[in-house]
């Protein structure tokens, strides 16, 4: 396993370097001037120019890039242009919010995705299958924000059982915090889980056709045990891959859900950073997100290996 991970280092590094260049250049391609944002709507061109100099934006791009990269290696992520604060602090303040959301929706994604998939893949009653399939198709077609709006309507307006706006850190107050977390996590996880469920279901149906299922039947193994011990474990691979890919999304990309549920997470930071040309923030977030996606991929492979001895030992 370690050997496998070490083998991946060069390609991971390559991706990250390329990403850093793109992350550095892309925000700067956006027309506009961060100094103009700092200066405000009424500012004159002179004020903006003075602020540009102060922010160091008049230096050559190459030196800006290498300063940034150099900083990264010493743990300095840079200063936000707009807030004049260390980027690490800006991210740190929101990381918990995003992590909480990602973790809970990750858990929900796994529970619902795999649960729904198992349901669809193992039920033998026609009607149950039609019902589960229908739910699944509906969820597949429903975008997260629509689900979010619906949840807000349902729980925030019609039955006021759960808060629909804001957040309380789970670490500060677990009981309350988790209540704030439930709806956004659901809105994020439900539509995604439909995709995962679809994978599990398809795979289960395919695995059911495998010879080793016949062997199990011929041993006299009861159907339930077959489902769990033989079908299920062989069916999770593609779902794990999908969840692995999605988890990166959860961590870094819950932009819309954060907006709708008024959470101040990294997604919001990224959007506002992009919209206000806060290059230094955006570039770190992009590199971070790609990094997480890469880590997610590696983790996926580790989990796959845990699930499948052929990968682990072969």
């Amino acid at each position: 396993m370690t050997r496998f991970l070490i083998r991946r280092i060069p390609s991971v590094a390559l991706v990250l370097v390329a990403t850093s260049v793109i992350a550095f250049l892309l925000p700067r391609l956006v027309p506009g001037d961060p100094a103009a944002v700092v200066a405000g709507p009424d500012a004159s061109a002179e004020t903006i120019a003075a602020i540009r100099t102060e922010l160091g934006l008049d230096r050559p791009l190459v030196s800006q890039y290498f300063d940034w990269i150099g900083g990264l290696f010493t743990g300095d992520l840079g200063q936000s242009l707009r807030f004049n604060r260390p980027v690490s602090e800006l991210i740190g303040d929101r990381l918990v919010s995003t992590l909480e959301l990602a973790l809970l929706s990750g858990v929900l994604l796994i529970v619902f995705g795999i649960g729904l998939g198992i349901l669809a893949g193992s039920t033998r009653s026609r009607w149950a299958r039609v019902l589960v399939e229908g739910t699944n198709t509906g969820l597949l077609a429903a975008p997260p924000f629509l689900v979010g709006l619906l949840l807000i309507l349902l729980f925030g307006v019609a039955f006021r059982v759960l808060p629909t706006s804001g957040e309380v850190a789970v670490l500060d107050d677990p009981g309350i915090g988790i209540q704030y977390l439930i709806l956004p996590a659901l809105a994020l996880a439900l539509p995604m889980s439909a995709g995962v469920a679809r994978l599990v279901q398809t795979r289960m149906l395919a695995v059911r056709q495998e010879d080793f299922i016949d062997l199990a039947v011929s041993k006299g193994v009861p159907p339930r045990r077959i489902d769990v011990r033989h079908v299920l474990r062989n069916s999770l691979g593609p779902a794990v891959v999908a969840i692995g890919i999605r988890f990166g999304d959860l961590l870094a990309g819950a932009v819309v859900i954060e907006a709708i549920f008024a959470r101040n997470g990294l997604g919001q930071l990224a959007v506002s950073g992009a919209q206000s040309a806060d290059y230094t923030v955006v570039q770190v977030l992009i590199v971070g997100a790609v990094f997480i996606a890469v880590i997610g991929q590696l983790l996926t492979e580790v989990v796959l290996a845990a699930l499948d001895p052929r990968v682990r030992l072969g």
Partner: protein
């Protein structure tokens, strides 16, 4: 054969257990908790204590303490106080704040201010005249964002006593002193470096900064050493950022927030209409002009003025809360040229005729806007109107960095603008980016305009001033290089059980704000 329920049951079981444990852990409901915070209602006596959650659509920006900024509306006057407060409702009636009284000389070129004694910064240091001098120096720094830099640049400020300041100015102070000082809150010289990045936010206001999360929220706690006895009432203010309007609306409805700013009027109305819990609150007055820098033909510019249905904009975008006199000036001021109001009332026929005369049918009218819901909504009606009279509007919607850069560089073309209406015509002509003579975003510039505007700025008596404004306004109407479409107060939403939510230039002054029984 057909029952393989265990995995399913087990799954369901897991879910139930998870939910149950969650509910058990949270036997205190977040919803109830949020409601408790607001659960008072009724009106009457001011209560000591309580927390206000104030939601703003944009994040606090500490670098803009010296500017009128919507992003700082709900916290900055809680921490930083100016010498003079100017209520947005009464621009001509400035109120003492850190200055107890002031006197302007007859020629209007100098003023003496008496400062309040016994005021301390949050750090404990006493406030003196030197702090005023320091503050104004900082405001003049090229990299400082200040709305009133142009005026301050003409000032000499001198500490003529421990609690006395004398200002001498190149241009008359009569119409500008109050607004200028109201927008320049006093900062602490010792911690000023920490203001740049928000690590130290020290002022003299009724609340101290407990925590500041850049880009997200700022939490304020009661300043127990506040100079006004018995104030403030509130214990805490959480000024938080909710960018999405839907989320902000739901934060109000769910009882999380008691004060909110940055919603469009329509959104605000959707919360307040028919609701006993919320009401609208007027904040800073703003004017919403269209600047026609890229329309060469004066007749077409005039035609555009006639073509735009300002009343419908007022009604559909501003909830009917604004005025549509077509003038840039605050109607409440003494110098308001009433005769000239309504020159460009909606008259599509007239517009068509002018366009025909100019042979401009089908002319492209590119319009640059900042990508904000209100402005975009305004544009929708304008575009519809212009199409109706035979012009071809087209849109460039820009994010703030791009929009502001283009405007300051004078490459915005025709643009929709949004400016605070913070003072007299004289004040606006020196500070407002659409009107001012130097560093203006507007590209229209003629000797006549400079002359007429200078006359307004240099007027010392009210009569002189009124006449100069009249002449300037006449010229502006004729040239039609900009049309003020709507003048409307910013719309905030407040919970009805909050009392004395005062708004001055700069933002909400929470000193006297309290919950009622």
């Amino acid at each position: 054969m057909r029952k393989s329920t265990t995995p399913r049951r087990r799954q369901a079981g897991v879910a139930v257990v998870a939910l149950a444990s969650l509910l058990a852990a949270g036997c205190s409901s977040a919803v109830n908790q949020a409601e408790e915070a607001t659960a008072s209602g009724g009106s009457g006596e001011c209560q000591q204590g309580g927390t206000v959650v104030a939601a703003n659509s944009s994040a606090p920006e500490v670098s803009r303490v010296f500017a009128q900024s919507a992003t700082n509306l709900l916290w900055v006057r809680a921490v930083f106080e100016p010498l003079i407060n100017v209520s947005t409702a009464a621009l001509d009636d400035p109120q003492p704040a850190l200055a107890t009284e002031w006197e302007i000389s007859d020629d209007g070129l100098s003023a003496v201010l008496q400062l309040r004694e016994g005021v301390t910064f949050h750090s404990g240091r006493a406030f003196t005249a030197d702090d005023v001098v320091f503050t104004i120096q900082q405001a003049l720094d090229p990299a400082t964002v200040s709305d009133v830099k142009a005026i301050l640049a003409g000032w000499e400020v001198e500490a003529t006593g421990e609690h006395e300041v004398t200002i001498t100015s190149a241009t008359p102070l009569t119409d500008t002193l109050a607004s200028t000082l109201a927008l320049t809150p006093i900062v602490d010289s010792e911690s000023y470096a920490g203001l740049a990045d928000g690590s130290q936010l020290v002022g003299t206001g009724p609340f101290t900064v407990e925590s500041y999360t850049p880009g997200a929220d700022i939490v304020l706690a009661k300043n127990t050493d506040y100079w006004q006895d018995g104030l403030p009432y509130l214990d805490r203010i959480e000024s938080t950022t909710i960018g999405d309007s839907t989320a902000q609306v739901s934060s109000l409805r769910s009882g999380r927030a008691q004060l909110s700013s940055g919603l469009t009027v329509q959104d605000a109305l959707s919360v307040t209409e028919g609701s006993p819990q919320f009401e609208l609150l007027d904040t800073i007055n703003g004017t919403y002009p269209i600047i026609l820098d890229a329309v060469e033909d004066q007749r077409v510019r005039q035609a555009i003025g006639y073509a735009i249905d300002k009343d419908r904009i007022n009604e559909q975008v501003f909830g009917g809360r604004g005025t549509t006199d077509g003038l840039y000036w605050a109607a409440a001021s003494d110098t308001y040229p009433e005769d000239l109001a309504g020159a460009y009332d909606y008259d599509p026929e007239q517009a068509r005729q002018l366009i025909e005369e100019a042979g401009a049918a089908g002319t492209e009218v590119p319009i640059t806007i900042i990508n904000l819901p209100v402005i975009a909504a305004e544009y929708e009606i304008i575009a519809n109107n212009l199409t109706e009279v035979g012009l071809t509007p087209s849109l460039t919607a820009l994010a703030p960095p791009d929009y502001q850069q283009r405007l300051s560089a004078g490459t915005g073309g025709n643009f929709l603008s949004l400016r605070g209406l913070n003072g007299s015509p004289s004040f606006l002509l020196q500070t407002n980016a659409d009107l001012r003579l130097e560093g203006a975003h507007r590209q229209f510039d003629t000797p006549e305009y400079t002359e007429l505007a200078t006359a307004v700025i240099e007027a010392t008596s009210p009569e002189e001033s009124a006449e100069a404004v009249y002449e300037l306004t006449e010229y502006m109407n004729e040239q039609a290089f900009l049309h003020s479409l709507v003048t409307a107060p910013g719309a905030a939403v407040q919970a009805t059980d909050l009392q004395d939510v005062d708004v001055v230039l700069g933002g909400w002054v929470p000193a006297a704000t309290c919950y009622t029984e």
